[in-house]
Subunit: 303 residues, 4 copies
């Protein structure tokens, strides 16, 4: 039962929040200072339900993942067919969503999402991640990201529309963006890979560009609170949709597991790229799914 | 297929966005000016999966609604039982969520959620709301709310811990809050009703306090972009969990249907009440569920 | 509330049961007479959950359909990781299934599944088939099939391992099987098409063999109660997974809609083919899903 | 990929099928001999979807379990609202089901459902029951039950309409039924408890009557292949919906775990009771859910 100890307005304890501890009233106030135009961009892909139609195949996603399903439990069609209005004339539509965030839509990873050995980030026991949810480091512990966003538009730096599947982003690419990265910033990295979907699923599934291990370390050294990208795994993927790096160089291991840096994947960054802005207020507010390994999100860039 | 016309960073056309059209670069810049402390509060209830345990009964929800279900498709228990790590030692947890937002958790209503007659808000045909989603006025059209929040802490005004089930909030209560409400503000109204859950589900299900029709009109006249509350239906509910007002006085009809004012329900406002703050930056970023009647959200107050 | 009128042991009224009305105590007794060996064969594909693994792609299904999802809400891994046993030592596994039967697994169609114009089979209004289920002709009305099965092993007649995608079964094929078809029999028609999956999904998706319209009429004239096949749509499909026939010749229209003959699709008939038996007791017991358009089933052949 | 080794018409290996190994061609032929009238009764509760309506509360189920959800992905309402027919005029209804069988509807338990210590029935390692399903003793291994049913109508023996929550069925009750129980029979035990739902959920949830440990042993000694009942747990339950017996006397431990006797629960036996028949052909064909802990079923009594 709900009792005096509920404080749902706040987050998990510091030892389960990783790099989000870098967010302080001071960084929030500084980040708010990045709002200059007042425009708001959404950085998410649509969640397109796979039910009777082939429609979901028109949104980028990893091969073989269970796609989102969206169901209406009452809708306008029912009233057209004769369903009686409620009381004096109210009509309503109601629905349900089934979603498996990783690989299917824009989401933020929980710190329990990946690990090696017997321990999650910060030594939390991996055995606490069970069928009824993660007892440690779930997405409910993370809390929201309200931070200064810094935008690494790598295709722009390289003079291409988008990276190729085999491309890996190196520290030199990040340096070339000439951004003033500060502790607590949210690093937003564009590969342009969602544009590969224009050529069909097979083109998108041919692999994915992403950060090299060194680029991951470059970001970790700068104490960012989050790394967000428009690819599916921050690091690159091969055609079997797997990372090729060894354990020491795996991007999830470097960022999420060792440094507690949260990851957000499968963002849509095209309008942000068009804006020309490289710093802004970045906001991501994961659903407080207890014990969740991730949450679908609609990240925002307030320019 | 994804093509040149995708502009997922932006929202639906103006005629499907209702009062969110009141949000402009100017209001966003003004709202950002409400950030003074840099503290961030979450305004959502936890999403607690109903699977093997009775746990979900410990979070406020309407009687008889399908509760959220959260499933792990691989977890730490599997590795403890012998599942092999990926490649050189990676382990991962993955999960799925089934959620029916209305009545079960903190959510934002789409403009297609309620109507009367044959037309949705703004004359959109209700017959376009079908089994595969709302073709008009879905939550994917709304876009995010980045606005100045104004907080009506009604129990504080009335000198009580929380309102009673039969209480209705009148314009005088809102006036007594002495807030300077401006066009495009997000009105956040506290009833304290989630605290009734301390006494068990039956206490919570005995009815709900909420806005009176006149209070709804008071807010609509002030051109707020959104009304958010910690009750389940903005207006009050009787013990059968229904609104008692006629069509002309129903809060969803007044706010959502006639004025296109978005509604957010089942917020958790207790820490916000403790903060003493009455204006702040309010952010809500609904998932871009195509044709959705609502989205679960984690609204934020940046103080 | 459950009351005196519940008679869940029986089925829907005669006007919603179609050709299953042909099943009488006499036909059941006669069908039982087909049991000669006492062997029992299952005629269903496995239901393989699509969660973290690519496993479901190893079971035949139509392209683009939402695959079954199977989730464990508590399992042996949890106990291996430290979950406490119940009471003095009980441990349990519990799970959930999400299934969309058409096109993904062995199932039986309800009479509400397909129609033309404004009326379902037998003149029932199509407008009663709404978001909360089919008010008429749902699978809950059908009741079970306990009938004499007659087996048309068409590849055997044609001297091939399996039919090709463009093959259509003609009345002559059915005649060649030389079976004594009686009113109330369940006609089981083998195409061998699931074997195409050996060559991968694309081979299976290249189209499907099936009954021609004339063969459908041939069966309807003989008053069978059900037509079951190992293809996905009884009739043939083209490479876009659609039927090519016009309305008058569509197999679902001929059998399900005009004659109320139930259809069972995506059976697995390979061991039945090996058995050499052409008559047997056929049993299919659909789940009593209220208002369902189909039910997953495990049909049985008792030889 | 599907290959030569697929033999989906048959079941799991003998060491995962428990007492279903007692079913042989001889027992099947003998069971078929129990068909005398040719009438077929269904023994299942309806599966009533919990979506927008309170309807599911009208079907007996255990408190706090996730109720079935049934969604239409296209229906007659959509066509009434203007959805275009397929091709020359075909219309279709399609749907999806979410079901958690234990405690919510008529189902058959897999041998992996309950255990003690580190081993399932027959020494299979419990650690193989993981998030992606039971690698051992899943419901897909069981195969169907085609057996002689023997009916223990305990309320009739005791001269009551239904048993009370605290009643436990003793060997003397089973003896009083004066049935000739043979190896491989399916024992069907009526308590009448679903009738308690007439008085509302709270009456049903007050506890449940069921078999005593000695009655369980009485059945196990007679080598039945399955025990089916209209209560939720074969044994009795207290008001917290738990079994009170210690590990040695728990009905699931005695029957399922030690003897490999499959259990079917939450049957509807009222019409069977009215029939006056005590032997018949009993058929239950679980869905072949790979790694499932149970399957919803519609058991049949062929009288």
């Amino acid at each position: 039962m709900l009792d005096e100890s509920n404080n749902w307005g706040r987050w998990g304890a510091a030892d389960e929040r990783g790099a989000l501890n870098l967010l302080t009233p001071e960084t929030v106030l500084a980040a708010a200072g990045s709002i200059r135009e007042g425009r708001v961009l959404g950085l998410s892909l649509p969640i397109r339900g796979a039910t009777s139609s082939p429609a979901p195949t028109t949104v980028p996603h990893l091969r073989g993942r269970p796609l989102p399903q969206h169901f209406m439990s009452v809708d306008g069609g029912d009233y057209a067919a004769g369903t009686r209005a409620i009381g004096a004339g109210l009509k309503m539509a109601d629905d349900a969503l089934v979603v498996t965030p990783h690989g299917t839509t824009t989401h933020m990873d929980a710190l329990c999402h990946m690990w090696s050995g017997e321990e999650l980030y910060n030594g939390h026991p991996a055995g606490r991640v069970r069928s009824y949810g993660a007892g440690r480091c779930g997405i409910d512990k993370a809390g929201p990201v309200v931070a200064r966003g810094v935008f690494f538009d790598v295709p722009r730096i390289r003079g291409v529309e988008r990276l190729e599947a085999a491309d890996r982003i190196e520290p030199a690419d990040l340096e070339a963006c000439a951004l003033d990265v500060r502790p607590g910033d949210a690093a937003v990295v564009r590969t342009g890979w969602p544009l590969a979907w224009r050529d069909g699923p097979d083109a998108y599934w041919a692999g994915q560009p992403g950060l090299s291990a060194d680029a991951g370390r470059w970001l970790a050294e700068r104490d960012v609170c989050l790394v967000a990208s428009d690819n599916a795994a921050i690091g690159g993927l091969n055609a079997r949709q797997l990372a090729d790096e060894g354990l020491a160089d795996d991007l999830h291991m470097i960022l999420l597991w060792r440094h507690g840096i949260h990851l957000a994947e499968m963002l849509w960054l095209e309008e942000l790229a068009e804006s020309g802005r490289t710093d802004f207020l970045f906001v991501a507010a994961p659903l407080r799914i207890e014990g969740g390994t991730a949450s679908p999100i609609t990240p925002l860039a307030v320019l």
